[in-house]
């Protein structure tokens, strides 16, 4: 409290709160672990289970025989490609309608927001089950379910990018006397298009993985084979299938990341 120091502002007191939040998080983690019976020892118990020995050796002649795994895997890939295209195409106009910057009018804005909130609120696995029930087991239901899933993610990511777009060119296009759609198309779209392609590739990555999961509930593709083998306890085949899925996911991820790097 000497000289001019008394005139300096006091440092804001954030410490107590920060400690409090950290402590609360630790306490909650411990509480949750107790509640679900989680402990490191249970983890080791799982690993010492004799089940794991049944995964070896991989029966490669069965795994690599065209109809068994390769064909359903290609189907999974097709589901992912198709649903990415359908979902992302639908997401394009909806995203522009949902952003305050580019929405044509208030009713369109409110309705598109409300509809997308409902779509997002339904989990993707539930969408798959619903569609399998509605249109039958198979790749068709899977494609629809994943299209909805893609749409939900894409709209979320892309509309937020549009929110943050530069409004300057938009003002210029409006000042030139353009109609709404061409104004958005020429003033905003070129700026956000690279982000759109980048997100579409990311959604495709997610779809490859998600289409495996959706297969488990009867929506076609490799997931169905995986589930069938599990029911017959053919764990060695399952490991073989997982290796192939890993290869596909790995390749898709790397190609996608490489492409996205060049875009942004």
């Amino acid at each position: 409290m000497t000289t001019s120091a008394s005139a300096w502002p006091t440092r804001p007191q954030i410490r107590v709160r920060t400690y409090g939040i950290t402590l609360a998080l630790v306490a909650f983690t411990v509480f949750a672990a107790r509640k679900v019976g989680f402990s490191p020892s249970t983890f080791w118990e799982v690993w010492s289970n004799p089940l794991w020995e049944k995964f070896w050796p991989i029966p490669w002649e069965w795994v690599l025989d065209g109809d068994n795994v390769i064909k359903p895997l290609i189907e999974t890939f097709q589901i992912a490609v198709l649903s990415t295209i359908v979902g992302c195409s639908l997401a394009l106009p909806i995203s522009f309608a949902m952003s305050p910057l580019t929405t044509p009018n208030q009713p369109t804005y409110l309705v598109s927001r409300a509809v997308m909130n409902v779509v997002r609120a339904v989990p993707d696995l539930f969408w798959a089950k619903l569609l399998v029930t509605a249109i039958g087991i198979g790749a068709f239901a899977g494609t629809w379910a994943l299209s909805v899933f893609s749409l939900a993610i894409m709209v979320k990511l892309f509309s937020e990018t549009i929110d943050n777009a530069d409004s300057g060119p938009l003002e210029a296009a409006r000042a030139a006397g353009g109609r709404h759609t061409p104004v958005v198309r020429t003033g905003v779209f070129p700026g956000v298009f690279p982000a759109y392609v980048s997100y579409a590739l990311y959604v495709f990555e997610l779809n490859i993985r998600a289409s495996v999961v959706l297969g488990l509930v009867g929506a076609g593709g490799i997931g169905r084979v995986l589930e069938a083998q599990r029911q017959f306890f053919k764990f060695d085949r399952i490991l073989g299938i997982l290796v192939l899925i890993f290869v596909v996911v790995w390749v898709v991820d790397h190609v996608s990341v490489a492409l996205r790097k060049r875009l942004v």
């Binding site: 530069d166 300057g168 060119p169 003002e171 210029a172 296009a173 409006r174 000042a175 030139a176 006397g177 353009g178 109609r179 759609t181 061409p182 104004v183 198309r185 020429t186 003033g187 070129p190 700026g191 298009f193 690279p194």
Partner: protein, 264 residues
């Protein structure tokens, strides 16, 4: 050409940007508006093309009432008014010629401009506009690869592509260095003289205003407090508009002799 009667603008939130402005500008005039930032210069320009709606009063441009006009009428009025911006408002991720084509939005059918299928005649008009500002060789360069001065010329070309009868320039040189500033002001002046386009420019550099204006308008706190021939303007006029003594910051002061430094 322009007739404003008792125009006031109050923004949501209560800021009064313009208060009871009366102004008329004749065909082919070159008018410069000066005033401190926040004096209402930008608002005055935007009231002319309806980007900012006047709260009360009457704004007649080219024989059409802008206040309360329908969307279609506003588009028609705007199609005849070119606008140039302080931050250029170009779409950075696309080519120069695509930016200039935005000036043709009001003449091309919405579906053609949305799909990017610009008619040959409009592409030609865009090239002619670029030729007029001397950067036609940059037509297929990305806008972001140009220097600031070149970008503002693209902005001018975009406005010229509208074949306007009125040109509005909102602080067109505030983001440019002194030498480029004079080039851009020279372009505007030349266009005004050669094509007879009525021009209204916002400036905050007083020496530039004195050098290029035919007629000077002074705004202070949203009130029009000076309107007269530039030849009659002296330092007292500027002091009255600014409400304080003129400082070096108010001058661009490069090139020719700076506007008589006022000693006090």
């Amino acid at each position: 050409m322009i007739r404003l009667q008792n125009v006031s603008v109050t923004y949501p939130g209560g800021v009064e940007a313009l208060r009871g402005v009366d102004l008329s500008v004749g065909e082919g005039e070159f008018v410069v508006i000066v005033g401190l930032s926040g004096a209402g210069k930008s608002t005055l320009l935007r009231v002319l093309n309806g980007l900012v709606p006047a709260t009360s009063g009457s704004v007649i441009v080219d024989g059409t009432e802008v206040v309360g006009a329908s969307a279609a009428t506003l588009r028609r009025v705007r199609s005849r008014i070119g606008m140039i911006f302080q931050t250029f408002n170009l779409v950075h991720r696309t080519t120069v010629v695509n930016n200039v084509l935005m000036g043709r939005l009001s003449r091309v059918s919405p579906w053609r401009s949305t799909l990017g299928l610009w008619p040959a005649g409009d592409r030609e008009a865009a090239m002619v506009a670029l030729e007029r500002v001397g950067i036609v060789e940059k037509a297929y360069v990305r806008a972001s690869d140009l220097s600031g001065g070149q970008q503002q010329r693209v902005g001018i070309a975009r406005a010229l592509a509208q074949e306007p009868s009125l040109m509005l320039a909102d602080e067109p040189v505030a983001s440019l260095d002194p030498v480029t500033s004079r080039q851009v002001m020279g372009d505007l002046r030349r266009i005004n003289e050669e094509l007879g386009i009525t021009t209204v420019v916002n400036l905050h550099f007083l020496d530039l205003a004195r050098e290029y204006a035919q007629r000077l308008i002074g705004l202070r706190d949203g009130v029009l407090i000076y309107d007269g021939d530039i030849a009659k303007v002296d330092d007292d006029t500027f002091q009255e508009i600014y409400g304080r003594a003129i400082t070096a910051d108010d001058l661009l002061a490069v090139g020719e002799e700076p506007a008589s430094p006022n000693g006090d």
